[in-house]
Symmetry: C2
Subunit: 291 residues, 2 copies
């Protein structure tokens, strides 16, 4: 694969509105695995330099998506060790490490979902917002245990459709509502379960716009609000400040009115005090307020 083709991959990841943060992080690692094997280089030093540049470019594509940064940083750290070998060995080692991290990330998602499924139990109506692979995996684990789901459309791109379609294929009875109806329907849920793009050092959750509204309504209605994501999504207090990504205004599909600014901020912060419990691959951590 040529450098131009790697640049094309970067563009695809930057513009991807379908895959969640963990999937995109694994996508970045897959690009690095391939680059480690194929990127033209005269020396190990050149190879290492080019890979670090590619990794930095990938990390910059999705600044709100913490697992991208976390997994790439983890991979970068091993590159100095890889580079102590000759080029063919270094290539194999770096590619193998990327694939190992992909596997660890996948297993972390599966373990999160297993903990979430255990916490939620059978026969419960669960509400979610947006599309999360971890929530989807939890639904898969509960689909034959009388799970019922309440799903929001999640404007602007309506990724709730993808979730509703899969739930329907699994024969999970599902209610599909506009985002504006979240306050009405959360009252019918036994719990809310959302994924996250990041969890901040204080437990606040960075997730798709609308999550904060759902958390507020859940608290008002006395419905527990659970956040389920693997620990690769945690940001340390020392990490660079997070950024709320804004996407193209055209996604809202409205005319260009001269005095109107169309805003399309994808992510927002839900403060830790609205979270009842955080679920990751190691288990469930209840909020102190609920203990």
């Amino acid at each position: 694969m040529s450098p131009a083709e790697f640049n094309q991959k970067i563009t695809e990841i930057r513009e991807d509105r379908v895959r969640g943060a963990s999937e995109l992080a694994r996508g970045c690692l897959a690009v690095l695995a391939q680059a480690a094997r194929e990127l033209p280089a005269e020396s190990v030093a050149e190879w290492q330099k080019r890979l670090l540049q590619l990794s930095a470019d990938l990390a910059e594509t999705r600044p709100s998506m913490t697992p991208v940064g976390n997994l790439l940083r983890r991979w970068n750290e091993g590159l100095a060790v890889d580079a102590r070998s000759n080029l063919p060995v270094a290539r194999r080692s770096a590619a193998g490490r990327a694939e190992g991290l992909i596997e660890r990330s996948r297993r972390a998602v599966a373990d999160c979902a297993a903990h979430a499924a255990r916490l939620l139990g059978s026969g419960r109506p669960i509400m979610t917002h947006s599309f999360s692979s971890t929530v989807l995996e939890t639904c898969r684990l509960l689909k034959d245990r009388e799970l019922r789901m309440i799903v929001t459309e999640s404007r602007p791109l309506e990724e709730g459709r993808r979730l509703a379609e899969q739930l329907s294929a699994w024969r999970v009875p599902t209610v599909y509502v506009t985002d504006a109806q979240m306050g009405l329907f959360v009252a019918e849920a036994a719990a809310v379960l959302v994924g996250a793009d990041s969890v901040l050092a204080d437990g606040a959750v960075l997730n798709k716009a609308g999550t904060y509204l759902l958390a507020l309504a859940a608290r008002e209605r006395g419905v527990p609000f659970y956040v389920c994501c693997e620990s690769f999504k945690r940001r340390a207090a020392s990490d660079p400040p997070w950024v709320l990504e804004e996407m193209a205004a055209t996604e809202l599909g409205v005319p260009l009115w001269p005095e109107v600014t169309v805003r399309n901020v994808y992510f927002e912060v839900t403060p830790a005090r609205l979270v009842s419990a955080w679920i990751d691959e190691t288990g469930v951590r209840q909020s102190r307020e609920n203990q």
Copy 2:
């Protein structure tokens, strides 16, 4: 106009998704004014009976819309007095009363908006949800006083577009966001101003789905939440129970997934404790909690 044509008018009002509650109430009164003049009848008694039936049919079209019931009830009450005259006089009197109520309703909206504009003052960013004629009139009064607006799209039919288009024509700088972004953008508003379909006896507000979420977010962000509507929208404690109208699922525009139920509840209740002040044609009533 024939009875069939009056039935057609009833259908139009039932299916109207553009006009708000007050406009529809005036629409009903206009139908009654015309019916009072034109409905075929052999006697005053027959005329009165047919008008009461038509009024009942109109009232049933939009059970969530209190001004429809309130204004029609007000009109019905005078019909016994009209019916003491001969048919031509009764026709003129009943039609005149309907037109008088239309005028009173219009004036009440204008007076509400004047109070709201005074309360909000110049140069403030104001956020709203859905489309309200009273909010629109308030914007018209403030449009040359450095008003800025934040407008939600208001799924499923996106009546926020109509508002944004008008604000743009008035050269009011406007930010247009998805409903899911309400929690982010309310923090940039000096106040929230919404209309209402009804105000319940305890001060709770029946309005477009999403209003409750906006009120919750406004409280969290410390932004005052004002409700502006004329007193014809108040429900007495003795009124029949209110109904949350649900519209066609097709308005959400999603496929028919076998296991998925698409819900499209238009209205929801925002409890009085989330309202900072109620504005009607007589003035501003602050919430007790804010006094």
